[in-house]
């Protein structure tokens, strides 16, 4: 197969990861709404029902809290359930089982049980989905002890990360993204896994570090390209893992450039950007040549109208403006 043929959609890369793991390990099962013949709301599980059948794909009624709890119970018994929550906003309906069961059981039961489950869910706005179908809720998840949270930004990344998450003995939330699903990239065909706790330098640079994840990483890369002709050399650090944060990679990049802008699709307050900012302040204050800046969604619900949505969500222009401010400091 040529490299061209291996340039596939992010959604297809998720599908390949699920397919690989279903084939590799019979303890892997999928649980979620409309994941069967419909192929999932975003087509991610397309074809898997025909291949693996109802024994492996448990299509559920609309009962998020209980089917996440069912995944917890099945995981305690040694299965490796991969749950799909159709839109990240719906995670609110399942928060009890994630917070009070999945994240706590291994610790509070004194290590007697493991909960090797994965919860996949697309966060972020795609344009016009409105207040209940558009949020990036990473800020809620990173405050829950006992679950790992990853937010891969490329097709190759999501495949290797999801496969690693399925094989991990702990609960892992994989934040996918509706705007990333139709993006394409080269994805190796062979079996590979990626580290669940490592950030990657998406593009090296010397002047300013943009720290981002999920949908904002491609936006940051586009800004880097746009500013190259005017002689600004941006580094883009893609967090990949939000819990735990790869502190060493963050600090190394900050020490190199001395200027940091954190870019995320989640609300500004109390989230990943705030945490990264606090860590940099605690550990790298001496290396900073300007205040840490953040570009994030406004602390607002996301309006449906496209004309309004762009004012709430972070835009490339906002990053450019932050670059200008941080250079002029």
């Amino acid at each position: 197969m040529t490299d061209d043929e291996r340039t596939i959609y992010y959604s297809k890369a998720v599908n390949e990861a699920l397919d690989d793991e279903l084939a590799r390990d019979d303890s892997v099962i999928l649980i979620g709404e409309d994941i069967g013949c419909y192929g999932g709301s975003f087509g991610v599980t397309k074809g898997l029902y025909d291949k693996y059948g109802a024994e492996r794909l448990w299509e559920t009624p609309i009962s998020e809290n209980s089917f996440v709890g069912i995944a917890v119970g099945a995981a305690m018994m040694g299965l490796r359930p991969v749950v799909e929550i159709m839109f990240m906003d719906f995670l609110a309906l399942a928060l009890d089982q994630l917070l009070n069961s999945a994240g706590k059981l291994h610790y509070m039961y004194g290590g007697q049980v493991t909960v090797p489950m994965v919860l996949r869910t697309p966060g972020g706005a795609k344009g016009g989905y409105g207040p209940s179908h558009s949020q990036m809720l990473s800020n809620l998840l990173v405050g829950i002890p006992g679950i790992k949270v990853v937010a891969p930004s490329t097709p190759a990344q999501v495949k290797g990360i999801l496969k690693a998450a399925i094989r991990d003995p702990n609960p892992v939330v994989v934040i996918e993204n509706k705007r990333l699903y139709p993006q394409r990239g080269y994805v190796p065909a062979e079996d590979y896994v990626l580290a669940l706790d490592k950030a990657v330098i998406a593009a090296a640079g010397q002047d300013i570090t943009l720290i981002s994840y999920s949908s904002m990483t491609p936006v940051c890369l586009a800004v880097k390209e746009a500013l190259k002709p005017v002689g600004i050399d941006l580094e883009v650090l893609d967090l990949v893992s939000l819990q735990p944060l790869d502190k060493e990679s963050i600090f190394a990049s900050v020490r190199k450039t001395g200027r940091v802008i954190i870019v995320e699709e989640a609300c500004l307050t109390g989230g990943v950007g705030a945490e990264v900012s606090a860590l940099i302040s605690e550990h790298c204050l001496d290396a900073l040549e300007a205040p840490i800046m953040r570009v994030a969604a406004a602390d607002m619900p996301i309006p449906s109208a496209l004309a309004l949505e762009k004012f709430v969500l972070p835009q490339a222009e906002d990053i450019v403006a932050a670059v200008k401010r941080i250079r002029e400091y």
Binding site: I29, M76, Y109, G146
Partner: protein, 320 residues
């Protein structure tokens, strides 16, 4: 009189019930001496439900309990000193003191845990049943919960999915007539819980939970059907907690007259009476009760003497 249960079995069940009662009363004493932290939910009066159901299950059937779980733990035959140690926050406890009363698990005894979120264990038991079916096991999962939990979404969602997928799970509702202070008459529009089962195309029954022999018998029958693949069932047991909801409950929501009336249905009194009717001597009944009380007293002594954990036990072990 029940033909399925021998007199010696019933005497053994009686002894278990007394040990649960003694366990709860011992905890009550430890609280008043300041030797226990937090809170605890006693099952005084409900012992017949735990012992009746669990004595009818296989040792390899998986149990999921709730915040009022001491009876289930002891009925499964867990080491009483280790249960007591867990409540005291000792390293000798089943979870090293991290879980306490409401989060106590014993995987080696097929006990998937007590659970501090009302209704939180119901989907977990359903998921365990999914795994049992997937692995073609003939073991069953049993979910214990109360009338209060039957108003949670997890009850309705889980019963629906369990029925759709014909999962091997027995839902056991111990209806003790109150969710904390709220009587069933004010919280449950259907009046009883089992009548909700047909809405999920499920068989449901309501029985007198004070009669341990009856509970054992109806559970045996239900488990046989569930084990045979006939789908999940809902078993509602009418019972009464003679104590408050938790340790600091003055029970202002019910009368002392009601309590005195219900105490006449005390499961220990009823079981002792049944034993006498079977010809078991009062001497043997008293000896069984005394042995149970001594076991609990010895367990409490052992737990008190055990060491508590340190910093490393608090800050380690979040991930596998």
């Amino acid at each position: 009189m029940n033909d399925l249960i021998s007199s010696s079995d019933l005497l053994h069940m009686y002894q278990r019930m007394v040990s649960i009662r003694a366990f709860e009363e011992t905890l009550s004493g430890l609280f008043s001496k300041g030797l226990l932290g937090g809170t605890s939910h006693f099952c005084i009066g409900q012992e017949s439900c735990a012992v009746g159901v669990i004595s009818a299950a296989r040792e390899s059937d998986w149990l999921v309990s709730n915040h009022r779980g001491h009876g289930h733990l002891l009925a499964r035959g867990l080491d009483i000193a280790r249960v007591m140690g867990e409540l005291m926050g000792k390293l000798s406890g089943y979870c090293g003191g991290r879980g306490g009363s409401q989060h106590l698990c014993a995987m080696d005894r097929c006990f998937l845990g007590t659970n501090g979120i009302t209704g939180g264990g119901i989907p977990i038991a359903t998921g365990a049943a999914l795994a049992l079916k997937y692995r073609k096991s003939d073991n069953v999962a049993i979910a214990f919960f109360g009338d209060g939990a039957s108003n949670q979404g997890t009850f309705h969602e889980s019963l629906n999915m369990a029925s759709l997928w014909k999962l091997p799970v027995l839902f056991v509702c111990e209806n003790n007539l109150y969710g904390m202070s709220n009587p069933v008459s004010k919280s449950c529009a259907s009046g009883t819980i089992a009548v909700r089962a047909p809405a999920y195309a499920m068989h449901g029954e309501t029985h007198d939970g004070f009669d341990v022999e009856l509970v054992h018998e109806v559970t045996s029958a239900a488990l046989a059907r569930v084990r045979a693949g006939q789908g999940p069932e809902l078993l509602e047991l009418i019972t009464y907690r003679q104590c408050g909801h938790s340790k600091n409950d003055a029970r202002v929501y019910r009368s002392r007259e009601e309590e005195a009336h219900m105490a006449e249905r005390d499961c220990l009194l009823l079981t002792a009476k049944s034993l006498r009717q079977r010809g078991v001597s009062q001497e043997d009944i008293d000896a069984a009760a005394e042995a149970a009380r001594q076991d609990v007293a010895a367990a409490a002594e052992a737990a008190l003497a055990a060491p508590a954990g340190g910093r490393e036990h608090a800050l380690d072990g979040l991930f596998a």
